[in-house]
Symmetry: C2
Subunit: 464 residues, 2 copies
Amino acid sequence: MTHYDLIVIGTGSGNTIVDERFASWRVAIVERGLYGGTCLNRGCIPSKMLVLPADAAQRAARAGHLDVHSSFDGVDWPALRDRVFGRTDHVAGQGHDYRHGQDGVDALDGTARFVGPRTLRVAPTDGGEEVEISADHVVIATGSRPVLPDVPGLAEAEPYTSDDVMRIDALPRRLGIVGGGYVGCELAHVFASFGVEVVQVESADSLLDNQDEDVARVFTDLASQRWDVRLEARLTKVVRDEGPDGEIHLHLEGSDPVTVDALLVAAGRRPNSDLLDLDGTGIEVDDQGLVVVDEHQRTTAEGVWALGDASSRQPLKHVANQDARVVQHNLLHPHDLMTSDHRFVPAAVFSSPQVGTVGLTEEQAREQGLDLAVVRHQYASTAYGWALNDDDAGFLCKLLADRSTGLLVGAHLVGPQAASLVQPLIQAMSFGQPVKGLARGQYWIHPAPTEVVENALIALEGEL
Amino acid sequence: MTHYDLIVIGTGSGNTIVDERFASWRVAIVERGLYGGTCLNRGCIPSKMLVLPADAAQRAARAGHLDVHSSFDGVDWPALRDRVFGRTDHVAGQGHDYRHGQDGVDALDGTARFVGPRTLRVAPTDGGEEVEISADHVVIATGSRPVLPDVPGLAEAEPYTSDDVMRIDALPRRLGIVGGGYVGCELAHVFASFGVEVVQVESADSLLDNQDEDVARVFTDLASQRWDVRLEARLTKVVRDEGPDGEIHLHLEGSDPVTVDALLVAAGRRPNSDLLDLDGTGIEVDDQGLVVVDEHQRTTAEGVWALGDASSRQPLKHVANQDARVVQHNLLHPHDLMTSDHRFVPAAVFSSPQVGTVGLTEEQAREQGLDLAVVRHQYASTAYGWALNDDDAGFLCKLLADRSTGLLVGAHLVGPQAASLVQPLIQAMSFGQPVKGLARGQYWIHPAPTEVVENALIALEGEL
């Protein structure tokens, strides 16, 4: 058994830990799939590389309200898919080759499970002989994976998940999507923009049900104009006809049945901790399967750390990257530990419309009993909104402040550039900048999209 | 002669001063044109309402690099023009009617000139009898207008300026644009996107010559791929053929001659102070015709104030609005004067590519002898840049910091969403937030366009 200074399991954000400062460490890195993890290979990056062409397709198909005649004449799906995954696979391969050629690092392609304290058995992906390794420090950076809900016939229908739907050979004529969260809503936009007939099934009464309700309402209204959205609809049974081109029939409680040619399940993800044989290791997991960590990303077992989707309630790449920096620092500076900052974690939905959000929803803030000031400011009331000429869309910036502190507690945008426009609000929240003076203490370019934030802040200041 | 508490000359930003807090004041407002000034009627707003359709046209015409087949099939120019000016004219009309119906306010449609201290003679626009009015306070909010350079034949050719080119009846086949500043570059994008053959003539060696040179270079390279850009070319003579459809011939020093069907001159603007008969009033103007004001927007004459393009070296709407708020406050609080903040004034060029900028250019910073840290970060190196698949474009975020203070002194972006992406940097500069910790002290959504700013800040911190 080889003993290391450090073992990192997983090469998503975990792979960023081992840099030149670890040159004197003996390191093993274990990866059971492609280097780069979910974000690079199955998540944020390929999906956004599909969303931009989808945005272009949607805009070309609908510019009449701007008095422009244009048309969308189809997507070259194989070329697009190959461009996207040609790029990400290349980067993943570079990551693999770099680690495999690196002095002082043993890169193991295989699946690790714990067999003792900081001791792992790795089953090689190529079927070779298992090896046991141990280390002073182990970092669990094993991420998460999509789950299939327990619905009769669903697994047998072999539906796609976000893991593979982006790599399909050809666009289906009709695509069913189970799930109204951000993954389902981004991919619904992608496929609908490319001309696929999309039916999206969600058990809640809106899409993006975990967003602020104003954002969810605007989003759901606009999505429903573009594809078939079935709300308060529960999938009860799936039947797939025989044969490679067999139709898939979705039986729904609360809605009429649906027949599609392909099915995507985007009904949530779960941490991969169950694959690690954590029982008896002293590494606690919670009831969702998340590895329990403290503010320094330490698990409940000595010398074992965790980060990202393996341990975070916010399974987002920018959180995983932050966690990885904290683990990295703390490995290098055991007597000067850094603390994770999960106070103001933003998120975006790169669909159409786009959503950008940070902090508490109104519902969450009211549950906390805050003395709340709330404003909703329409894009349509700004000069940029006039230019959009899309007044009925309802694009808005909603801000929440705590009157007792004068600070922002939540910011939610739905509309063009929402993921960018939320940044000054993230900045204000993160650095404790009070609402009072925030709008007037800086210039906002006229007539840029940022004016919706400026005007919302001015209105909010008037409510404090 | 009627005596007022306050006379405001000009209804651009000047019109925002008189709100309900002036209910007890006797006020006169003088306007020689449309209510709302340049921004609403001839500037920012209509131009941006044309830029968005132009963006849509350009994107539809060029989406092949995204593997999307789409086409631009023409603009309905009369419908677009009527939609834009239908909206702005309506708002201008509302402004006019509101003031004309308001108790305590005399709205005079005419041209004002000084005939004594705080005493004006107003020549009514309808040719009626001139009236004299005086006031305790006079606000000069008279804005600026385009200038024609002194070139033989130019005035006789009756070229368009930004005042009227957006209202033309039909798109010309070929449009000459004299001037490579932001007005010329925005309107070149508009007309080129709509299929007009544009030739842009600039005497400097780049377009946007007053921008940071990296921004100017990237912009000029990309513009030159879309329309005919003539650099280091000086207009020496203009000849217009006889008749309503007479061709216009531009003779150029440093470039071949050009023949066009219509001509736009966008070669700068001048303050309207020369129309006010300021001689002998004690109201000083500088050698550019700008009314000289102190930090409270007071002119050199007792009780006379000025704001916006009439007095600012930065003729931008967001500056004029700020100036107006300062004048408003100071009129209401004569013993608690507010100070104008012109430290960090951003600006954008809503062309394609877009430019967003604040603070010093590298050249300006070097002239000041600053101990400068400079980074240039490419959009192409971010995940969003991968999605754009436009690596050759050269889109970038350039940041400048003063090593002696650790503060940003300039930020310049050229590329998608530049006018929005610059906002967190404006915020940091305005509130004195140090570069150190700025990127890591807040989350940046992955993979949003904002990551180019995050990564540039991280690189900059490494240079301090």
